[in-house]
Each structure stands twice: as structure tokens, then as C-alpha cells.
Symmetry: C2
Subunit: 201 residues, 2 copies
């Protein structure tokens, strides 16, 4: 689409299929897809173990307690160190090649990137519940409450680190209701991206 | 695209070019485009003069005063009578043929329509200001303040009549940052609509 690197960031409600749309997009564009891989790379750079980051990076209450107990050499709370490590990894990825990045406040981290299309995926409640129950590899007893809890954590994480507001229209070039279908949503984002890149060389 | 009527509704920030995108879409799809025409039709049905509706339908403070003075036979405030008349016109239009409708809370009015794609158009502040200054037929001294005032009125109008929140992502199938270009934004909405209609026959 362009000789210069571009990035598509995807923020998403839990159960909306945002991750699947990101994978589909990466496949269509033949570019890397990053999600939890970011955690691994951040862990490598910062010295935290992958398992620790994976389990606790969005559980701020517990981490706030931890960070009050263990402050490292940089005198930064643990949560902030994790976030900063992830920011660096995201910037490195965007520098290295075009890519699709799901979550991790990537739209904010790449706010100054000249070729970054920022998207948000949502879906009606009943569609998210069906996806959580039938497509996700998690056993969830109360999917409505669980989805609300995860989205609350995502919003709190985003709002805390970016001082912005997760899910606010002006953050994103495009927000898509995924009830149109995973492939269709990916196609819509691709059409936007193709046009966007014509003006952002 | 389908033998049954469908509707695309467009809510928009002032200066975002939402009206132009709606016109482009209607042209691409060869279907009617409705905006202020709705006011004319509402006026005909309700007996209000077109000029009165045109000047005052979104100036609620003044209308609230008026409605306290002049209550018609239905015992409804004047603002509510205007809104109800517009709702009926929007429903009649959606019944009559496929169409594009800009503004007028049409996404809410057609909430139960089985083939209605609801969109919201926004743009970065500097782009909106440039469009207001150079493309709109209005002489505006302070475009930043003027745009904020119009959007505040649109939000107040929407929130009052729908009990919802103007510009909330979950209201819309698609929100588009129009800095990608008018034609490109129309193309993106058309691709979404084509896919949407495959699942909503």
C-alpha cells in the first residue's frame, strides 16, 4: 500500500472479536500481528518474567499494592515500568515494519506516528456474550459480568496511562460494530487504511 | 444492494463534512438524500411554517419559553410537537424508499428499523475549522467557538429527545474520521453497508 511503514491499532470491547479482526487484517495485508507478543518482548527488555506480566499487567489494584512495596532502581511504580517497557516495544515494532497491534494503548503510544490508523471495535451485548460462550477458550460462569469487568479494567488501564478516555470517538479514525462480521469489519478497516495512506505518505 | 428498503443515518460534528459525505453516498447509491428537507415535510404535516421550524427547531431555550406561552391542542410543548412531526416524516421516508438521512436524531428514530446503518462523522479540530472557513456558506467570526456551540446544541437536542448520548460509540455501526476525505469516507460507509445488508435481509 505504501513503501513506508504503517500501523493499524485496534482497541476493542471484550467479546467484540477485535483480536480476530486484527488477525484477519494482518493476514490480508501480509504484515505482523501483535497482541500478547508485546508482553513477551516487553518482559525481555525490562527483565520481568513473561508469566508475571501476563498475569498482572492489567490488575492495577494488586499492582498498586505491590508497587508500594517493591520500587525498583528507577523509583517508578511497577505498573509504570511495565507500561513504559511496552511503549518502547510498540515503538520499536512500528519502526521495524508495518503491523497490526491489538490493545496496549497503542493508539496513544503511536499518537505522533504519521501513518497510524486507530480503530475501536465494539458489538451489541448479545453478540459479545455468544462469542465469549462459544468461541473463546475461557470458561466463564457469568459472561455479562465478566465482560463488564474486563472492559472496566481496560478502560481504567487506558485512562490511567494516557490521561484520555477509552472508547471516545475522537481517539479513533474508525470505530466498527463487528456484528457486520469479522471479515467484513476487516475489509472496512482496510478500505479506510488504503485511502488514509494515500494522504499520509 | 437489496430489494428491501435500507437507510443510512449520518450524525456529525459541525464542520466534519458529514452532510457532503451523505450527499456523496446518496449519489453513489442512487437513493434520496434528506437533511433540511425533513423540516419542510414536518412543517407541512404539522401545520408549522417552514421558516419557523428552520429558524428555531434546535434553539430549545427560546422554544421552551415559547412553549410555556403557546400550548396547542395536544397539550404538548412546541419543541416536542416539532420533534414528533419530524419522527413521523423520517419513518415515512424510510418506509417509502431507501435513503440517506443526515441529523435529526434519525439513528434513534429508526432504532427498530431492520436495515438501518447508523454512522457518526467527526474530524480533527483544525480540519473542521478549515472547512467552516473555506467551504461553508456562513460567515463565522470565531469558528472554534461557533463549532463548539453548534455541537453543544446538537448534543443537547439529541440527549433531550432520545434520553441517550450523542456521539457515544455504541449508538453507531460506524464512526468515521473524515480527514481521510469525503469520497473515501463515503466509500468506507458503502462497504460497511453492503456487508451489513447481506446479514439483514
Amino acid at each position: 500500500m505504501t513503501s513506508k511503514n504503517f500501523v493499524i491499532t485496534i482497541a476493542r470491547e471484550y467479546g467484540s472479536g477485535g483480536r480476530l479482526i486484527g488477525q484477519k487484517l494482518a493476514e490480508m495485508l501480509n504484515i505482523p500481528f501483535y497482541d500478547k507478543e508485546i508482553i513477551s518482548m516487553a518482559a525481555e527488555q525490562s527483565g520481568f518474567t513473561e508469566d508475571f506480566l501476563h498475569k498482572h499487567d492489567q490488575h492495577k489494584h494488586w499492582l498498586n499494592f505491590l508497587s508500594n512495596v517493591f520500587i525498583n532502581n528507577n523509583n517508578l511504580p511497577l505498573t509504570d515500568q511495565i507500561y513504559l517497557a511496552q511503549c518502547q516495544v510498540i515503538k520499536d515494532m512500528a519502526e521495524k515494519s508495518s503491523c497490526v497491534i491489538v490493545g496496549r494503548c497503542a493508539d496513544h503510544v503511536l499518537a505522533d506516528h504519521p501513518r497510524c490508523v486507530k480503530t475501536f471495535i465494539h458489538a451489541p451485548q448479545e453478540q459479545k456474550i455468544q462469542r465469549i460462550l462459544h468461541s473463546y477458550n475461557e470458561k466463564v460462569e457469568n459472561p455479562v459480568a465478566y465482560a463488564a469487568k474486563i472492559d472496566k479494567e481496560r478502560a481504567a488501564h487506558y485512562n490511567y496511562f494516557t490521561l484520555g478516555k477509552w472508547g471516545k470517538i475522537s481517539n479513533y479514525n474508525l470505530t466498527v460494530d463487528s456484528s457486520v462480521g469479522i471479515d467484513a469489519a476487516a475489509e472496512v478497516i482496510m478500505v479506510y487504511t488504503e485511502n488514509f495512506l494515500k494522504n499520509h505518505q
